[in-house]
Symmetry: C2
Subunit: 94 residues, 2 copies
DNA sequence: TAAAGTAGTTTATTTTATAAACCAAATTTT
DNA sequence: AAAATTTGGTTTATAAAATAAACTACTTTA
């Protein structure tokens, strides 16, 4: 009847991040913050979770001497997102 | 960009319950348990939350001397569900 | 050089989700 | 008919999540 919703993606902020990342080649911390409206602390935590799950790659470097965090969705992330969307349909489809 | 997801509906079990209730005139505890696969304890807690939010009506009575809990979605619940689905589209639409 | 801003991380707190334990009545087994 | 099991739940305890607040380190501006 209802498909299980991947709990890692069933989170407003993590879902928003994935939704942004699925549409771009890469996005940095600042851009993700703008798009999602999240606080820096929350975004930092949730990005870590997505990275630990293997759904995104995080590349930390420096632009000059300022830290710069660039994120990209992985293939596993793309798959998980698609599966999540399919599962969602079982709840919201008329 | 992203619409806010009503946190009361953004829960796998509560969403499943609402999804069932939106399609029927009413449903009892046992039926909801079957449809959702939830444990009784969890279902009991989540039904209470939906009721407190005014999204469902719960009618507790007895069939003989066995308790019988019948649930119906309210107009507010229907509205909230529809709004939630619309908000979701902002995350998952291609 | 002091104040304010940028780019984050870490830690602490609150909220949620969930299961486990429980209760009362009914049904089934021995 | 007593004992055990099942049914229909509720309450309580615990684990997991979400979030904000506080902090670090560097940069820019006044």
């Amino acid at each position: 009847m209802f498909k299980e919703l991947n709990p890692l993606l069933h989170s407003e902020l993590r879902l928003a991040v994935m939704s942004v990342l699925i549409g771009v080649e890469s996005a940095d911390f600042v851009f993700l913050r703008q798009q999602t409206g999240a606080t820096a602390g929350n975004l930092s935590v949730q990005l870590d979770k997505l990275a630990k799950a293997g759904y995104i790659d995080i590349e930390k470097s420096f632009r000059g001497r300022m830290p710069c965090t660039v994120c990209r969705i992985t293939d596993a992330g793309r798959d998980a997102f698609e599966e999540y969307v399919e599962a969602l349909q079982t709840y919201i489809k008329r």
